[in-house]
């Protein structure tokens, strides 16, 4: 089995997790940068639509490294889709498949269900809930919390910051509420 074939298989958590953990020291040693992705959204606001809002009046160019980093994440997605694509359908817990089928989801082949996330259903109520409302909550919530999974859960807890642990518990609480109590109703829309 050649290397590309080996890399193309889905990576187990004990490979991916430690590699993600290493992003923390790599960014610090490269130039004192703290790991975090959601700040890029703020820098984009500051660069493109500051609108005289004090929260967006700062020297975003100094934080341009973060925009290079997220552009890299985007490029990494392209690289993987072209050269390292997993040839097999992804493995999903049968209980989840069963539940989603009852809620009208039928595409389980890829990383996202394309029957929920596609351009045609974007302007339906369900499409708007899944993309526009979901995205808004991600952007608003991460900035209100002062970080996301990378900035709080990984960087913050790694630096033993208890506020980051609080934030991470709240991320999980929100996720559990949505996935179990609210999402089934959204999927039935």
């Amino acid at each position: 089995m050649n290397l590309i074939e080996w890399i193309s298989k889905p990576w187990p958590w004990w490979v991916a997790g430690p590699l993600i953990g290493l992003v923390v020291p790599v960014l610090l040693i490269m130039g004192n940068k703290t790991f975090g992705v959601s700040s890029s959204l703020r820098h984009i606001c500051a660069a493109c639509f500051p609108a005289n809002i004090s929260f967006f009046k700062y020297n975003w160019k100094k934080e341009a490294w973060n925009l290079f980093f997220v552009t890299g994440i985007f490029a990494g997605g392209i690289v993987t889709a072209i050269w390292l694509k997993n040839p097999n359908p992804i493995q999903i817990n049968p209980a989840l498949v069963n539940e989603l089928q009852q809620n009208g989801v039928s595409d389980f082949a890829g990383l996202m269900p394309t029957d929920l996330f596609n351009w045609h259903s974007l302007l339906t109520i369900k499409g708007i809930m899944l993309t526009v409302v979901g995205g808004f909550l991600v952007g608003f919530g991460t900035r209100y919390a002062g970080g996301c999974t990378s900035g709080h859960a990984i960087m913050g807890i790694s630096n033993l910051q208890w506020p980051s642990l609080v934030a991470t518990c709240c991320f999980m609480a929100g996720g559990f509420i949505m996935a179990n109590l609210i999402l089934p109703f959204i999927l039935k829309l």
């Binding site: 004990w14 991916a16 997790g17 997605g77 993987t80 351009w119 993309t131």
Partner: protein, 172 residues
Amino acid sequence: METIIEKSRLPEMNTDFEVRSLDTASLNESELQHPWWYNLKYFAAGILFGIILVKAEIISWFRIQEMFRLQSFHMYGVIGSAIVVGIISIWIIKRFKIKTIYGEPIVLRSKKFHKGQIYGGVLFGLGWAITGACPGPLFAQIGAGFTVVTITLLSAIGGTWVYGKIREKLPH
């Protein structure tokens, strides 16, 4: 020590300190000025991070649903082991006073608690379970070919903007 750092930073910052202390994620603690192409190394780091996000299926909407239904250990394993490696790395950096490749001392700031971490945290969690993506995976999902996620990303930028607009009225 902290006050010395604060003072040395004063001249170049045009933002208020409150914003900066509330919002400590992913800041640039370096005082050095470099040409733009020095940032290309962060682009390279981003590519590797993006590949990990896709290959470990962290960008998968299904993996996120499994996580929030306790149907798979995968995401807990990823985040948990990342934290363990992060803790050890930061301990080593502090213990041996490791410097950056440019010889600057590495600065790690404390995060102050505020209520936004609770309210904002829950709101983000709700969005995470809908979109199946936290901000990093949003970029990777688009790159991996799920182009409609561009709308999710634009909406996330909009959400950040609205937060900036109304943040004085929100409890912190």
